[in-house]
C-alpha cells in the first residue's frame, strides 16, 4: 500500500510538485502517467526517502520511508539505470545489497535467475546493455521479496520480449496481493499493464482512478491523456 497526501516540493523558486495525492493499492498495478518533466520521478524519489518534500506525507505500508526497518523487505525500487557501480560484477553488486539488509546469500542467485541474468552475473556492469542494467536493477528490487514495488520507467531500454516479460512479472506480483507502482510516459504500453492510473501534468494530479474511469468516453488512454492535459498537437 502506498499513500501519498498533499505532497509539494520546490526546486529553487520553481514549484515542481503541488498537492500530489494518490494511493496505490495492494493487488493492483498502478500506473503513474505523465510527460517527461511532469514530476513523476520527483514524486517517486520522495516516496523512497531520496528527496525531501516541503509539504505533505508519502507513506509505504503506513510508514514514511525513514521509519522502515530493513527497507528492502518492504519496498523494492527501480530508478534510473541499474543502480550499480560500473566496475563491479552484477553478482558482487547484488551481494552487497543483500548484505545491507541481512538477506541470505542464496537469494542473490534466485533473483539473478528470475531476471535472466545468471550467465552475465560474473561480468562487470559496464559491459551490460541498457536492458541488462534494468534487469539487474529489478533483481535488486526483488531481493527482499517486498510487498511494494516502485519502478521508474521500467520498460526503458527493454526489447519487445523484455517488455512483455516485465508486464507479466508485474501483473503476477499484483495478483499475489502485492502493490506495484510504475511510472511511464508510454501510454499504449501502460494501458496494457495497469489496473489504476494516476495522471500527472506540470507537477499536479490531472486525473486518477481505474483505467476505465480515467479513459472515460475516450477511445484510448492516450486520447484521454491529451484531452486532460490539452497537450495534443
Amino acid at each position: 500500500m502506498i499513500t501519498v497526501e498533499h505532497v509539494g516540493k520546490r526546486r529553487g523558486r520553481t514549484k515542481v510538485l503541488s498537492d500530489i495525492s494518490f494511493e496505490a493499492r495492494p493487488g493492483r498495478v498502478t500506473g503513474f502517467l505523465g510527460p517527461n518533466g511532469a514530476g513523476k520521478s520527483s514524486t517517486l524519489r520522495i516516496l523512497l526517502g531520496l528527496d525531501r518534500a516541503e509539504e505533505g506525507t508519502a507513506l509505504v505500508c503506513g510508514l514514511p520511508f525513514h521509519r522502515l526497518t530493513r527497507p528492502l523487505t518492504v519496498v523494492g525500487a527501480l530508478l534510473d539505470g541499474s543502480g550499480a557501480h560500473r566496475s563491479r560484477t552484477g553478482r558482487a553488486h547484488l551481494r552487497w545489497v543483500a548484505a545491507s539488509n541481512g538477506l541470505p546469500r542464496g537469494r542473490v542467485d534466485e533473483v539473478l535467475d528470475l531476471v535472466g541474468l545468471t550467465e552475465a552475473a560474473g561480468k562487470r556492469v559496464r559491459t551490460y546493455s541498457l536492458g541488462m542494467g534494468r534487469r539487474l536493477g529489478l533483481a535488486a528490487a526483488l531481493l527482499g521479496d517486498p510487498d511494494v514495488l516502485v519502478l521508474d520507467e521500467p520498460v526503458n531500454g527493454l526489447d519487445p520480449g523484455g517488455i512483455r516479460w516485465m508486464r507479466e512479472l508485474l501483473r503476477e506480483r499484483a495478483a499475489s496481493g502485492r502493490t506495484v507502482l510504475l511510472s511511464s510516459h508510454l501510454m499504449g504500453e501502460l494501458a496494457e499493464t495497469v489496473h489504476d492510473v494516476v495522471v500527472i501534468h506540470h507537477g499536479r494530479i490531472a486525473s486518477r482512478g481505474t483505467l476505465a474511469e480515467v479513459t472515460g468516453t475516450h477511445r484510448t488512454l492516450e486520447d484521454a491523456f491529451f484531452a486532460l492535459t490539452g497537450d495534443g498537437r
Binding site: 526517502g49 531520496l50 525513514h66 539505470g81 550499480a84 566496475s87 551481494r95 545491507s100 541481512g102 542494467g133
Partner: protein, 235 residues
C-alpha cells in the same frame, strides 16, 4: 552490523579501492628498499617512507564515496549507486557510520601491515617504534576519513584525489603555508605527522598526542559538516 558488512564488501570489491590497497602496501617498503638513509635522518628512517604510503589511504577514502556518485554512463545518466545504497537503508546516519567504519577498519589494517613490512626493512630500528606505528595507523586512518568527508561534499573524486595526492607527494601546500604563518602547523597533515615523525620542519613543535588530537578535531568537524549536508541534500 549488516550495513557495516555491506560497506566492507562494497569497498573490497571495488577495483579502484584495490588499487589504493596496492599503492599503500607497496610504496613505503618499495621506497625504503631503494633509499639510503643519511645519518641525521636515522631517527625517522622508515617512518618518512610511510608518509608516502598515505596516498593509498587517500585513494581508499575518496573512492569509497565517489563510487556512490559516479554516473552509470550515457545510457542512464541519472543512474548512480547512491540510490541503491539509500533505498536499502532507512537511516542516512547509519549509512554514513557504516561507511566510515568500514573505511577505518580497512585503512587501519593496511597501515599496520605496511608499517610492519617497511620497518622490517629498516636497520637499525628507530627508537619508540611501537607507539610511533600506532601513530602511523591513526594518521593513515584520519587521512582516509578526511578524504571521505571532502568527497561527501564534492560528490566527485577528481578534485579531492588531485589536491590531496599533490599535497602529499609533489608539493605540500600546508608546508609552504607554514613558512607564511605558524598557524599552518595546525593543518591536519602537519599536526598529525607529529604522531610518528621526530624531525618536522614545522614552526610549532607539537607533542605526538597533541598532534593526534588536533588532527582528530579536523576529522570530527569535517565529518559533522558532511553528515549535516548529506542529511539535508536530495540524494
Amino acid at each position: 552490523m549488516t550495513l557495516f558488512h555491506a560497506e566492507l564488501r562494497k569497498l573490497l570489491t571495488l577495483p579502484s579501492a584495490r588499487a589504493g590497497l596496492a599503492i599503500g602496501l607497496v610504496l613505503p617498503p618499495g621506497v625504503m628498499m631503494i633509499s639510503a638513509v643519511p645519518e641525521e635522518a636515522r631517527q625517522d628512517a622508515g617512518f618518512v617512507q610511510l608518509t608516502l604510503g598515505v596516498i593509498g589511504a587517500i585513494v581508499l577514502g575518496v573512492v569509497s564515496t565517489s563510487s556512490e556518485y559516479t554516473a552509470e554512463g550515457d545510457d542512464a545518466p541519472g543512474g548512480r549507486q547512491i540510490t541503491t545504497s539509500l533505498t536499502g537503508t532507512a537511516s542516512r546516519t547509519l549509512f554514513l557510520a557504516a561507511k566510515a567504519g568500514a573505511l577505518t577498519l580497512v585503512v587501519a589494517v593496511l597501515a599496520l601491515v605496511t608499517a610492519t613490512l617497511t620497518l622490517a626493512l629498516t636497520r637499525p630500528l628507530p627508537d619508540n617504534t611501537v607507539p610511533r606505528v600506532v601513530g602511523v595507523v591513526v594518521y593513515w586512518t584520519f587521512t582516509a576519513l578526511l578524504a571521505h568527508g571532502i568527497t561527501l561534499l564534492t560528490r566527485t573524486g577528481v578534485v579531492p584525489l588531485t589536491l590531496l595526492i599533490l599535497n602529499t607527494s609533489v608539493v605540500s601546500v600546508t608546508f609552504l603555508l607554514s613558512k607564511v604563518t605558524p598557524l599552518a602547523a595546525y593543518f591536519p597533515d602537519l599536526a598529525g605527522s607529529h604522531m610518528f615523525l621526530h624531525r618536522i620542519a614545522s614552526p610549532v613543535d607539537l607533542a605526538p598526542v597533541t598532534g593526534g588530537l588536533v588532527m582528530a578535531a579536523w576529522v570530527v568537524a569535517l565529518l559533522a559538516v558532511a553528515a549535516v549536508v548529506v542529511h539535508r541534500r536530495d540524494a
